[in-house]
């Protein structure tokens, strides 16, 4: 990433529009023909996705955000594949959302959530690479006065074999930039890939091992001051009063300001001084209605939803009422899943320079365009006077898809016109102001005939809707939240993997004042635990092997079955496990990919030792198998941290957990050995960042039940005095 370090080098003092920008776009208007757009260093664009420097360095534009998941590298691989360039000379840069808007959204969607960074932009970024290659070939052909069809391109070298002439991309880039971008471009068959599909190393590692990578928290601007902020601990609450005079004279303090109606910030020379003063500042809050809410009151509301008459239907076939009425055997179980914080390693932050003429933001965001929209709204300035410069994210996991912290930083900076303000949330603020994994309960009912065939399944989810909380415009017209059925839908990118004669999956929406959010895996985390552990309960009730029980229901779902079979084979399901070791399975589909997991555990007292995990992913096309393996292994860290430790509780309306001492995360000593099976079957593009997390918890829970005969149905496991060995 060559973009980020420019922040400190660029001529901020000159006050140009280019402050920290990746692309200072300049336009050459030629007497005739199209205009040449130039990057900050003067190198020409060959279409919007590619810049080629005279020294043959290829700069690939990436609109999606890098937060550790590897999409920056994967997207560059896709462009480079079609461009036929020398991978060793590829670098990347982020266009800004402001630049994109000014060019009619030239770079498409910036949103980097729902594991869609690659799967929803592979087509147009590959076309961008292919178009640039065609332009470079044409430019060489024009120079040599030969037909373009006689010129070949490979590793950034253009060759005319007939005349034995060669040139490089850097030498014809100027001429290529003046050509029209071709509209009809053919893409390679993935089986011919040489760069994409390969386990290449990431492009952003070097600066992550020497301390030079700049994250949002590390941004420095001349004359910058720092802000610490505290919002109402009860979401929806307001500031009643605060005693600014008490801290105004503390060392380094410059100003104490109210932010919107719900927060107070201290601005100081250093963040440490700002935070210290904020800690001493007495703030009176009006908690509002939310102040009366606790975990117990929320649990009661959710419990009522489990049997409520009305619910939104997500998936149904047959007649579940008849199946239940006529069942020879009925199995029931009730589950509960808590609020959880994303707890990105880097707490939320943003740096803002606001003047009456311009508002610029530097921040780590998963959605540059959402951050841009928040900036426009909070700054009071028109879009063409705002921009957002994306900085490397210290983790995202869904949290940085929201722009609440960006808006807050703009509102603070607006009260210090002309002074750049870096606002950083303390870890405690980050814990209090999360966008929490939604809280739900679930009642599962399964029915059998007298031959132990599964005849019916009713899955009633009761709980919070993420969309109702933070994106109500995306609710369906009837008020239902389609996302609550992720992993359970009849078809599509989050399809249910079983065929059950009588099926009903429905959702009783029960919202609270606690802000929900998209948390890695989103709604499938709890849906997968409910469904996949209950499948094991049903298998046990029928006296059947959990694998064989599933297989009978999966005949119509070959790709779901494919990954399940793969993990069963690899873990040796049909062979006995080592003495004292027990196994569990799970499978799911979400974010366009099929995933399955198998776990081997042993249990001693209240300690669960996870010996081995096998996890299979079929993402259709695997753009970088090495990075997929890392996402798979990392998903078990995130997913098992959630299973064993992750819970945010509510008291008097506020979240009780404040830091990692009471919101723990798995350490290296607890890390199980994860064997990833990456098995792309082709023909579709699935996501990778999230799907595997879905099978982490249920596979381990099923193995725990196999070991002990005990079913745990409320989470996290620490509440049952269970710990990782």
């Amino acid at each position: 990433m060559n973009y980020v370090p420019k922040i400190n080098r660029r001529s901020f003092v000159a006050g140009t529009a280019a402050v920290g920008g990746g692309l200072a776009l300049g336009l050459d208007f030629l007497p005739s023909g199209p205009k040449v757009v130039r990057a900050a260093d003067g190198s020409p664009e060959i279409g919007v996705w590619v810049v080629i420097r005279p020294d043959d360095v290829v700069v690939v534009r990436v609109a999606r955000s890098e937060m550790g998941q590897g999409s920056l590298t994967g997207l560059a691989q896709l462009v480079a594949e079609e461009l036929e360039c020398d991978w060793s000379k590829v670098t990347t840069e982020y266009p800004t959302p402001g630049q994109s808007l000014a060019r009619k959204r030239a770079w498409g969607d910036f949103s980097t959530g729902g594991s869609r960074g690659i799967r929803e932009s592979h087509q147009y970024v590959r076309e961008g690479g292919a178009a640039a290659r065609m332009m470079l070939i044409q430019a060489a052909a024009d120079m040599w006065k030969v037909p373009a069809a006689e010129v070949t391109a490979a590793k950034s070298v253009l060759t005319h074999a007939k005349s034995s002439r060669k040139t490089t991309y850097g030498k014809v880039a100027e001429a290529a930039a003046k050509l029209e971008v071709p509209k009809n471009v053919a893409l390679k068959d993935p089986k011919d890939w040489k760069i994409a599909g390969k386990p290449l190393k990431r492009l952003d590692t070097a600066e992550k091992v020497n301390g030079k990578m700049i994250y949002g928290m590390d941004v420095k601007l001349p004359g910058m001051l720092n802000a610490a902020v505290k919002a109402s601990p009860v979401h929806g609450g307001k500031v009643k009063s605060f005693d600014a005079a008490k801290v105004a004279n503390m060392k380094g303090v410059v100003k104490v300001v109210q932010v919107a109606d719900n927060a107070v910030a201290v601005i100081a020379d250093t963040w440490w001084h700002a935070k210290s003063a904020l800690d001493d500042l007495k703030i009176e809050w009006d908690p509002g209605e939310g102040g009366k809410v606790s975990s117990a009151t929320i649990a009661d509301i959710l419990k009522e939803g489990l049997t409520a008459e009305k619910a939104f239907i997500g998936n149904q076939n047959g007649d579940i009422k008849a199946a239940i009425a006529g069942a020879a055997k009925k199995v029931e179980a009730v589950y509960a899943y808590p609020y959880q914080n994303h707890a990105c390693m880097e707490p939320m932050n943003a740096t803002v320079l606001w003047t009456p003429d311009k508002c610029e933001v530097w921040t780590g965001t998963q959605n540059g365009e959402a951050a841009f929209a928040a900036t426009i709204a909070a700054s009071g300035l028109p879009a063409n006077k705002c921009d957002v410069h994306k900085i490397m994210l210290g983790g995202g996991f869904g949290r940085r898809g929201r722009a609440d912290y960006v808006a807050q930083a703009v509102l603070i900076a607006k009260q210090m016109p002309g002074t750049p303000i870096k606002m950083i949330w303390s870890r405690e603020e980050d814990m209090a102001q999360g966008s929490f994994h939604p809280i739900t309960q679930c009642k599962m009912v399964g029915t059998f005939d007298d031959k132990n065939n599964l005849t019916g399944l009713h899955m009633r989810i009761s709980g919070q809707s993420i969309l109702a909380g933070i994106a109500p415009q995306r609710l369906n017209p009837d008020g239902s939240d389609g996302a609550t059925f992720q992993g359970l839908n009849p078809n599509g990118e989050t399809a249910f993997g079983y065929t059950v004669p009588n099926l009903l999956i429905d959702h009783a929406m029960r919202n609270t004042h606690v802000t929900p959010g998209f948390w890695r895996g989103v709604n499938v985390n709890h849906n997968a635990i409910y469904l996949e552990t209950f499948m094991d309960e049903l298998a046990a009730a029928a006296g059947q092997d959990p694998l064989e029980f599933r297989r009978k229901l999966m005949a119509n779902h070959p790709k779901h079955l494919g990954v399940l079979n793969a993990v069963a084979d690899r873990i040796g399901w049909k062979k006995p496990a080592p003495k004292g070791v027990y196994r569990g399975l799970s499978q799911m589909m979400a974010f366009g990919s099929y995933v399955a997991g198998a776990a081997e555990v042993s249990v001693t007292g209240n300690k669960i030792k996870i010996h081995r995990i096998v996890a299979a992913t079929d993402p259709g096309h695997a753009v970088n198998p090495a990075q997929i393996e890392r996402q798979v292994a990392g998903s078990f860290v995130y997913g098992l941290s959630a299973l064993f430790y992750g819970e945010c509780t509510v008291k008097n309306g506020a979240i009780e957990q404040t830091n990692f001492h009471d919101y723990n995360s798995l350490r290296i000593a607890e890390m199980p050995k994860v064997e990833a099976i990456v098995m792309p079957s082709g023909g579709f593009w699935g996501g990778v960042g999230e799907p595997t997390i879905l099978v982490a918890a249920p596979a381990v829970l099923n193995a725990y039940a196999a070991a002990t005969g005990k079913r745990v149905r409320s989470f996290p496991l620490k509440n049952h005095n269970l710990a990782m060995a």
């Binding site: 700049i214 250093t270 990105c344 390693m345 880097e346 001492h661 050995k673």
Partner: protein, 149 residues
Amino acid sequence: MPRLNINGKNYDVDAEPEIPLLWAIRELVGLTGTKYGCGIAQCGACTVHVNGVATRSCSFPVSAAAGKNITTIEGLAPNGTLTKVQKAWLEHDVPQCGFCQSGMIMAVSALLKTKPKPTDADIDAAITNICRCGTFQQVRAAIHAAANA
């Protein structure tokens, strides 16, 4: 005014004695490779070496650091020659988001000084840094690779 020796260079910092070393390094000296993750010595993102000992600088006052040799991630590879640990990190493509990795690398570097060939159990006992991306599998492989380099 405390004098801090960081990466072999002296800095006179305008810091109250109780300011955590982390914030003196980041805000007064201006080296931002050392990260803030929790402020209560839980996550290890702020790990630096104080006289060679891995130290969580968010909970270590400047007054205690004065006069000692402090090494941050920026000073780990003097003259730009990467250490064995950094090279292993590159070779194993360890970082994901990378925010915890400065602290992780500093903790591992200190471990290898006292235990040049750590066992898995040694690693489990000594490396307690939090990584939310979950790079532990690569971290472990890279530690062994660095130890054997």
